[in-house]
């Protein structure tokens, strides 16, 4: 009976541990994607890198494309200044997106970036991005949203095109949130 009890305790502990493991997969997956760039997760950590004339690889041109998606039911527009550009790896680029709230309500948006192909995601460094912050917009208003980025010089040779996509989501308005709780 004693060995039975030990076995049962062990089995129950395994069950609890595996339940925990299911939840542990969430941060593990996040870390895994951040490190490897799987799933197009772009790293928010910019590696210190020399820029300027000596840091730029003028021998190479990479095409960077910008696409945007608006989540279902949200009446906003998000338009990149240009849809596509050629950049040298290491070159610091400033560009803008125009966001417009076409609905009749004041809303808060949050853009979530993703880079394709996933293998290139870690080489796409954003030093300034509207996706770092929430973006409130009054009904009918427009705002220009800045993006500053560079493509790392050690981008694998096989990658000639990087596509940066933003999906814009609506966040619950702050006062609604307070009411809801």
């Amino acid at each position: 009976m004693a060995s039975s009890r030990r076995l049962i305790t062990g089995l129950c502990a395994t069950v609890v541990a595996m339940f925990g493991f299911g939840f542990a997969l969430v941060p593990l997956y996040q870390v895994f994607c951040d490190i490897t760039g799987f799933n197009g997760n772009t790293s928010n950590i910019v590696q210190a890198q020399t820029q300027g004339s000596d840091g730029v690889d003028y021998s190479r041109l990479v095409t960077v494309e910008f696409v945007t998606y608006i989540s279902k039911g949200m009446q906003w527009q998000l338009t990149p200044q240009v849809e596509q550009m050629q950049v040298h790896p290491g070159q610091m680029i400033d560009m803008e997106f125009i966001a417009t709230n076409l609905s009749r309500e004041d809303q808060v948006g949050q853009a979530v970036p993703s880079v394709s192909p996933g293998q290139g995601a870690n080489y796409f460094n954003k030093t300034e991005c509207f996706c770092f912050n929430q973006q409130p917009l009054k009904a009918g208003d427009s705002a220009s949203l800045p993006l500053r980025f560079f493509v790392a010089t050690d981008l694998p040779q096989g990658i000639q095109t990087l596509t940066l996509s933003y999906t814009l989501y609506e966040l619950p308005a702050p006062e609604q949130k307070a009411k809801g709780v």
Partner: protein, 535 residues
Amino acid sequence: MSTDAAINTGVSDDAHEHHDHKPSGFFARWVLTTNHKDIGSLYLLFSFAMFLTGGAMAMVIRAELFQPGLQLVEPNFFNQMTTVHGLIMVFGAVMPAFVGLANWMIPVMIGAPDMALPRMNNWSFWILPFAFSLMLMTLFMEGGGPNFGWTFYAPLSTKYSPDSTAVFVFAVHLMGISSIMGAINVIVTIVNLRAPGMTMMKLPLFVWTWLITAFLLIAVMPVLAGAVTMVLTDKYFGTSFFDAAGGGDPVMFQHIFWFFGHPEVYIMILPSFGIISAIIPTFSRKPLFGYASMVYATASIAGLSFLVWAHHMFTTGMPVAAELFFMYCTMLISVPTGVKVFNWVATMWRGSLTFEVPMLFAIAFIVLFTIGGFSGLMLAITPVDFQYHDTYFVVAHFHYVLVSGAIFSIMAASYYWLPKWTGYMYDDYLAKWHFWCSLISVNILFFPMHFLGLAGMPRRIPDYALQFANVNAVVSIGGFAFGLSQLIFLVVVIKCMRGKGERASAKPWEGAEGLEWEMPSPAPYHTHTTPPEIK
């Protein structure tokens, strides 16, 4: 041996009844029972009821797909049918049937008087009727039942799911708890209650496969519980596990789900391997070829099942390296599986074969399961999976391994052990009809689905393009025929239970081996009260 004669002498039922100390009254006998045979019977009857319920839903699906266009049901109801059909067949029919077989046969096979934890055994069964009542209730709720597929991918199950999702989550929790308790019971029984001399490598293969299955259950059912809990909190409590707007990731749902889901697939097939490994030697009158290799093959299939989950997700945009890894691991599984198939064939080789109904189902299992294995191998090849993904080819594949695989093995087991359970032989004439009708109709039902899938018909849709019409009509006819054939099985089982038929001897199968054949038929209420002697 003279055992058969000794058993069949005129010991009347009443004498048995008195000797067995069965509790009297329906409530005390069945609801409060802690007897492994009673609980096994309850599990088996419950799973058969669920099989017919899930089957009725499949009939709705096939009736709607008989013709292109929308005829009978709303698309939303169609989606509920595909979802609940899947959930019921996986968690309500196949898994409880195996647990029922485990309850009945494992203590008898290893020389134990009962399961190790009889009260928990009662509980783990009686949770199930409640869980499935909840699940079926959702179909009548406002907004309908679950309609997001049995895989409940987020955001279908979070953002776009009906209000009844909370009930679905609770039902899945209950099923998980039941399965985990059943698995703990099986492991403790096998590890601690073997008769003296019953060493691990003497265990019947059904016991071995169930031991490994139980470990799989314990490892992955809690992960499923975690996944449904995250769906619950995402939908109702404002968390963002799978919601990209809040920093979550819907693809992560698929990783978590299939980390459970792929071992789950083997949970539904490993006990089948054990059943077939019991039946094939009996009717070949030869010992099983390669016992040890069967044990190791089962264990390696179970181990590999944790390394292949992402082959369900080849089209989610994984890096090539990951796709190759999962592709090769998946293909590797065909090695131990092939070992098993060849061992069964080698067991039959030059055996004195007879073709009683359990053997017919077992041979059909080997052939049809192998077809399912081959289509699985095709699906494992990453570049072509992009064409097969989410088409009827996948539907054909998993129905070959689950219906003509798992379900056929359960039928085989039922025919094989029904004499032991009820004390009466099944009606051979009806059983043969059941077998041949099932065999022919199951192939009319599922084989053409391969071609539908290759031609591009997507799964989980209530309507389809005109060019698929003829094949779908044939498939539907096969479906109705298969559904009706199962009613023959119902009749056979009822006849056995009501004692209509030949009395079964202790060992109705000439070539059978194992402790279960050394006791009278029906097996007495209490068996192995003193440990049997193991040769």
